[in-house]
Structure formats: C-alpha cells, structure tokens
C-alpha cells in the first residue's frame, strides 16, 4: 500500500512538472511575452528594457531552465503591480479561498449524500423526483448568474445578507451557496446512480437472502460500495469548486486567490497568473493523492496483504 502511494506521489511530481511546462509556454503562446506584460502604448525603449530585465531576450531553453530552477525554490518572480513575490501574494489569499471552498464542499456533501441515497432507495418516489429536479436545475444555470440573483434577492431586496467582502459568517453565506449549487447537483446525481447500480449487485441479493433488514442492506452493504465511485466525483468537484471560486469571488468581491488572479489578468500581471496556476495544480494533485489513500481505506481489494 505504501508502495502504491509512493508510486502515485512520484507520478504527481511529474504531473506538476508538466503543469510548470504548460505555464511557462502559456505566456509565450502569442510569441514574445513582453507584449503581454506591458500596456500597448509602451515605447520601444521601455519594451527593450523590460525584455532584457525579464530575460526574454535569451534562448528559450535557458529561460525555461531558469524558470524551473526558480520555481523549485518557490520563486515565480515579482508582481509588476505590487512589487512583491507573486507566490507570496497568492499564498496570502489562500486561506480565504480555502474557507469558501471548504464550506461549499461541506454544504454540497451534507445536502447531496442523504438526498442521493434517499432518491436511489426510493426510486421513482417523490423524493427521487425532487432530487432529480434539483440536480437538473443545479447544473443548468451559470454560477455567476446565480450569484448575481442571490445578491439581488437577499442583499438588495430583502437586505438580510451582505453582498460582498469577507470577515463575518454572513458574508460567507451567499458565495458559499452559489458555489455549492453545481457540486451538490453533480454529487446527488452520481451517488444516486452508483447506489442504483450497487443495489443490483449479487452481494446485495446475498445480504437480503440472509434476512437482513432493508436498512442494514442499504446502509451497511450498499453505501460503502457506492462510496468508492462517489469519492472520485467529490474529489473532481474540489477541482471544480476551486475553479468556480474564481468567478464567485469576483461576483461577491471576496478577497481570495481567484479574485487576485482575475485582477492580475486585467492588470497584465502575469507572474501572479503563473504562480496561481501552479499553486492550484499542486493543490489539486495533493487532493488526488489524499483520495488515492481514501480508496485504499475504503476498498480492501487495493490493500496488499
């Protein structure tokens, strides 16, 4: 088992290296990255100076080597706008994003897991229909639009929740709800279908044949098996939540990494964008590793005796 996780860990490092390559070439997609960093009205002298300063005039391979070398030390260059190391700026905003994503995920799981199980167990019942309806609606409108509508109703019209900022729990409610909608829908739907499939399995028939009550059959024998594919989906949702946080933070003026990244794009502050993408990748890869460990705990078939 340790060996399996070690293999995954080494692979993860390779994946992150791949992301670093991606990020390096990302800013060079349009050719010379100088144009990307400087405003269009910059003078030729300014451009030439900036290019020398950033080392963009040197051979690509050397630039890449230096990028990787510095990245290994956590150095992604300084923000042009704030003059501070880009990674530190991202890191400073991380707790805010973590809080928002964690609360949203918790909200999704708390709603979706009981709903998904209940829908599958009482197939074609009212619960099932309600669950299916919400899962369809939840994944069919844009997150940012939901955010705006929540602000309209709860902040503008009812004036019971603040539309922006961070600090109090009230400020967390609207962004967390709007961010959780999509994930809740997805997790409900997938848990329902996993449960339906597991309930068809031969070992469920065996459990019933033993005379176990339906409650024991569902909660002891079925849920644990359905959990395995569902964990995968929840892990994928963490990625989606972190991505979705970008736009949600923008709507609610929530001071997280996502908002920082969007402002950086607007300000042509691409060192921040690079640091942000890498940081996200490390985060997601780490979560996937944790999920791999979860599988080993949940599924004895993956344990080596």
């Amino acid at each position: 088992m340790a060996r399996y996780l070690a293999t995954r860990a080494i692979y993860s490092v390779l994946v992150i290296f791949g992301v670093a390559v991606l990020v390096f070439f990302l800013v060079r997609l349009g050719g010379d990255p100088t144009a990307l960093f400087l405003p269009p009205e910059s003078s030729i002298e300014e451009i030439a100076r900036f290019r020398r300063q950033m080392g963009f005039d040197r051979p690509l391979l050397i630039q890449f080597g230096e990028f990787v070398w510095r990245a290994l030390q956590g150095d992604f260059g300084k923000s042009l706008r704030y003059g501070e190391p880009a990674m530190r700026l991202v890191w400073d905003r991380f707790p805010a994003t973590l809080q928002l994503s964690a609360v949203s995920l918790l909200l999704s799981v708390v709603i979706a897991v009981p709903l998904g199980i209940a829908a599958a167990v009482n197939r074609d019942s009212l619960t099932d229909r309600v669950g299916l309806f919400f899962s369809l609606v939840g994944q069919s409108f844009p997150t940012f639009w939901l955010g705006i509508m929540l602000i309209l109703v709860f902040s503008e019209k009812l004036a019971i929740l603040p539309p922006s900022g961070r600090g109090t729990w009230q400020q967390l409610v609207l962004p967390a709800v709007s961010l959780a909608a999509y994930s809740t829908a997805i997790i409900t739907r997938l848990l329902r279908s996993s449960m339906l499939e597991v309930m068809q399995a031969d070992y469920i028939r065996t459990a019933r044949g033993k005379g176990l009550s339906e409650r024991v059959v569902v909660y002891r024998h079925a849920v644990r098996n359905a959990a395995i594919p569902t964990i995968t989906v929840i892990a994928l949702q963490v990625g989606a939540l972190l991505g979705g946080a970008v736009i949600t933070e923008e709507i609610f003026a929530y001071p997280g990494m996502g908002r920082l990244a969007i402002q950086a794009i607007a300000n042509r502050d691409f060192t921040i964008v690079q640091a942000f993408v890498i940081f996200m990748a490390v985060l997601i890869v780490a979560i996937n590793l944790a999920v791999d460990a979860c599988y080993v705990l949940l599924d004895p078939r993956l344990r080596k005796s």
């Binding site: 991606l22 844009p142 996993s194 969007i262 794009i265 964008v273 993408v277």
Partner: protein
C-alpha cells in the same frame, strides 16, 4: 423514425427536445425574429421594464442601459452561444476521440504519453486554464472556440480510451486481427463505430457545458469581443443595474438556463438509450 419516438417516450426528454429545437430555430433565424434592431440605442428609453412601451412599440423583456431591446439582443446572442458551444464540441470531440482511440489501442507508449498530458491538464481547473489562455490570446470567437476545444478533449479521451481498452480485448477485435486486419482498419471499422454512441452522449452533454463556459468567459470580458452581444456579456452589462433594473441581468440567465436544461434533458435521455454505463460520467 423509431429512435425519435423512443426519445420522446419520456415526457422530460420531449420537453428537452422542444427547448433545444426552439433555441436552435431561434439561433438560425435570428435576424428575422428580432422585433427591434438589437443594436439600436436610445438613451431616452433606457431601462424600461418588461412589457414596457416606447414610441417604437412593446418591449416584452424591457430595455437595457443604452435603451436597446433586451429580447432582440437575446435572440441575436443565441447565435454566438450555440455556435461556440457546437464548434467547441466538434473541435474537442475530434481531438478527444482520436487521442482516446490511440491511447486505448496502444496503451504502452502513445497511451501513456497521452494520458499523462491529460493528467497535467486535469490538474488545472478548467476555468482557470481557459481564463489564462483566453487572456493571453485575447478575445475573439475563433480564439474562444480554440480555447474551449483544446481544453476539453480530456473528457472524450478518457471515456473513449477506457472503452477502446476493453474493446481491444473483445473477441471480435481478436478475430479481425486473426484475419490479418491492419491497425487503421481495426480503429476505423471495429473500434470507432463501437465508441460512437458514447461520443454522441458526451457531446450532447458537453454542448450544454460549453454554453455555460462561454457565458462565464464572456461575463469576465475574456470571451468574444465586446461589440458582439452574448448572453454572458449581457449579464455582465446588467450586473451594474441589478438593483434598479433586474431584468437586464436576469433575462439572459434565464435564456442560458432554458437552453442548458433542454440540452441536458435530451442528453440524459440519449445516455439512457444509447449508453447507460456512462451514468457515472462527470459532466
């Protein structure tokens, strides 16, 4: 048309079909359907609420901050949403299916490289990646299609690869190999036709997803150029007036919602009919 009858045997799927066909109709015939010139500004008639009248006539969905008819702009904007959604799905589907087939048929060298690239891409949240690429390339319809297309091949590749891996071991493929069939023949005649139903299902659900992403990117000003109306940019425009003129932001959102619900309902039905094992697929 036995298949169509099977689709509409479910009432929800019938609703999905109606919504989808309606939106497609709207997009195709948009120039003839708009009650007003969608670009005509009239600041004296700005932010008129739905069903409000101006000298020009009845504005069913009101007007926006520049006095443009919201309904007319919605109708015109449907073109970009559908165009981008469908084009991105064609691009990503093409690459995804091709790479997935190769990765599944040769799981040693080519397959490992392809799936490693997929893992790299999956390590970056899609929206973040699309955002960064769109920011570098700049706003244009072409760039948007490229960004959405190139960043979404993985969904196809993973499913197609998984299917190709099992198909390759299936005895009919072994039988073709025993007859001396070439690799292109195996891929084209034996693997591709057998993954197509999955691909159709994924594509239908991906169109819905692409429409949502197009809206997100346009909302952030990173999608299509500002002068082309899209549902996403209309919401962005309306956001500033949301307390006084809610309809400007609400209406395009409802348009997106109805479109996406329709396509999702249809896609779910296609999946149940064509490929029930894809139930666990991540949309």
């Amino acid at each position: 048309m036995g298949f169509l009858r099977k689709i509409v045997a479910s009432r929800l799927a019938a609703l999905g079909l109606i919504l989808t066909v309606a939106v497609a109709f709207m997009a195709i015939f948009a120039p003839w359907l708009t009650p007003f010139d969608p670009a005509a500004q009239d600041v004296t008639q700005r932010l008129i609420p739905p069903f409000g009248r101006t000298p020009e006539g009845l504005h069913l969905l009101g007007t926006d901050a520049l006095g443009r008819d919201v309904l007319s702009r919605l109708i015109i904007a449907s073109r970009i949403s559908l165009l981008v959604g469908v084009a991105a799905v064609i691009v990503s589907g093409f690459f995804g299916v091709m790479l997935g087939l190769i990765a599944g048929y040769d799981d040693q060298r080519a397959g490992r490289v392809i799936m490693a690239v997929a893992d790299v891409q999956l390590a970056v949240p899609f929206l973040v990646l699309a955002l960064a690429v769109a920011a570098v390339l700049g706003p244009s319809v072409f760039n948007l299609v490229v960004v959405l297309g190139v960043t979404n091949w993985v969904q196809y590749a993973r499913v197609v690869r998984a299917e190709a891996l099992t198909l390759r071991e299936r005895e009919f493929v072994q039988a073709a190999l025993a007859l001396g069939a070439s690799t292109p023949r195996i891929l084209a005649r034996h693997l591709l036709p057998n993954v197509m139903s999955s691909v159709i299902v994924i594509s239908s659900l991906q169109v819905a997803r692409m429409i949502l992403f197009e809206a997100s990117l346009s909302f952030l000003g990173l999608g299509v150029p500002a002068q082309i109306p899209t549902w996403g940019s209309m919401i962005a425009d309306g956001r500033n007036y949301v307390s006084s003129a809610w309809w400007v932001a609400a209406m395009p959102g409802i348009a997106i919602f109805l479109t996406v619900v329709g396509i999702n309902l249809l896609g779910d039905r296609l999946r149940d009919l064509l490929d029930p094992k894809l139930r666990h697929m991540e949309r």
